[in-house]
Amino acid sequence: MAKGIWVFVEQRDGKVRKVTYELLSEGRKIVDNFGGELAAVLVGSNVSDMAASFGEYGADKVYVVDRPELANYTTDGYSNVLAELIKKYEPAVVLLGCTLGGRDLSAMVAQKVNTGLLTDCTDMYLEDGNLVFVRPIYAGKALTKVCCLDTSPIMATIRPNVFAVSEPQAGRAAEVIKEDVPPGDIRQIIKEVVMQISTRPELTEANVVVSGGRGLKGPEGFALLEQLADVLGAAIGASRAAVDAGWIPHSLQVGQTGKTVSPVLYIACGISGAIQHLAGMSSSKCIVAINKDPEANIFKVADYGIVGDLFDVVPILTEELKKVLAS
């Protein structure tokens, strides 16, 4: 780890995604045990003021590229900048969150710096002096341990929620290094950005996910889940059946052709548990299933199951949680 670990800071309008802190926390542990330094890489516009704060999360250095052309994320702009920084400083390891943005950026940068990339990793550790990664394949139906072969840097994207965020150390300083890297020719012209106006956490990063399937019988069923999700501060998810029926947008589908989630608590309502769905949520820490059919597959993976009509059970659960969480 002689040249250290870099963590790319994923931020939008100055708001940093939790996965960035997760990676800094885990990166800190690795450099503490094996030497080297930990750096955060912050790219954007008007972001310099926030640079020093990454010291509190374990960064020794923060590389900052602050330019007006980088106000919005674009594949060209951000990948040009990150690739140039990597070529200049030659870090040993570059980590990004496995978000949509992290997937987009990491692949382009990996090619620009001519290196390998391990995506969607759920673990990383040193083994015989080599950094190895674990990644789910076939949507989690199997796993593989992988390493990079004589290629530098080692690049990986790490799934959100797999590493804990360490307690920030107030006042811990990082050296801020400003770099003025031109973003090059940006060919993606952003015409419009539509952020979902939602107080809900993003599905792939949520600690709690309340998910619904065919058993909800229609879009109205999701209104019930919304109430439950409100109480828990949860994200809403859905099985493919509910998405295909048009009850809820594609973007909320959990499963092999949807999103993979790893929350602390996953509540599956009216979901039978098709193998494709299970693939997307079986790394949840605790699974609760509510389904009328006692034979449903979902009960084979659930930690707790209630056999019953979700239209009876969910409102009671919502009320009960309201009481308990208020106390």
Partner: protein, 256 residues
């Protein structure tokens, strides 16, 4: 309009994954399909062809077995297929991208499509790498696409929302769920597909040798996740069961 679609043959989503005696993923008896995200790309390319005329070429890197995926795309309506069979060598995404880019560079194209990720390795990087190698602007996770006047205007998923992006052609577009509903091949399409051209290329045909496609990442081992223990069904009337559940979540699982 000339369109190239990169596709990958993958295990069916219902496939049960097992390991063989040597610890590798067991491929025996598994149904193979076009990667679903790539199938959206085939469909989108066909719709553009129907609108603007032109030609759709589907391309894959794989063994002869992958011809069935190409044939299916031809049956859907693609015009030509290219199979690059690299022979018995290990490939990673880097190597696959070098091969694809080299093969695509011999074709004419206004647009190149791919799925935003493959459902087998989940890696979502080949399209970006190919885009970089070919010098194409990339838009990932596209759910709506309009092409006109030498430009593509794509609505695509971003974390927490969506964005409309314009790029000049030629461009690389990757498909996301929601872009369209892929058509089923018609009987006529299936019959016609048999007569459509399928070009088979080796690495040597592309002027590549094994040293140029040396992988950069290496799988060390494969393993299956430890099966989740089925937990317990909480009996009783809804109110009782819910009270018990909430208690368990709090005191036993400690998740709320």
């Amino acid at each position: 309009m000339k369109i190239v679609v990169c596709l990958k043959q993958v295990f069916d989503t219902e496939a049960k994954i097992t390991l063989d005696a040597s610890g590798q993923i067991n491929k025996q008896g598994v149904t193979l399909i076009i990667n679903p995200y790539d199938e959206y790309s085939v469909e989108e390319a066909l719709r553009l062809k129907e609108k603007y005329k032109g030609e759709v070429t589907v391309i894959t890197v794989g063994s002869d077995e992958a011809q069935s995926a190409l044939r299916q795309a031809l049956a859907m309506g693609a015009d030509k297929a290219v199979l690059v069979n690299p022979g018995d060598i290990e490939l990673d995404e880097y190597a696959t991208s070098i091969i694809l880019a080299k093969a695509i560079s011999t074709l004419e194209y206004d647009l190149v499509f791919g799925g935003y990720m493959a459902i087998d390795d989940g890696s979502s990087q080949v399209a970006a790498r190919v885009a970089d190698l070919l010098g194409l602007p990339l838009v990932n996770t596209v759910t709506k696409l309009e092409v006109a006047d030498g430009k593509a205007v794509a609505t695509h998923d971003i974390d927490g929302g969506s964005e409309v992006v314009e790029v000049p052609l030629p461009a690389m577009i990757t498909s996301q769920v929601g872009l369209n509903e892929p058509r089923y091949p018609s009987m006529k399409g299936i019959m016609q597909a048999k007569k459509k051209p399928m070009t088979k290329l080796s690495l040597a045909d592309l002027g590549l040798d094994a040293s140029q496609v040396k992988p950069k990442v290496k799988p060390l081992s494969y393993f299956l996740p430890s099966p989740r223990q089925a937990g317990r069904i909480i009996p009783g009337e809804p109110a009782e069961a819910v009270a018990e559940l909430v208690k368990a979540l709090r005191e036993e699982a400690k998740v709320i």
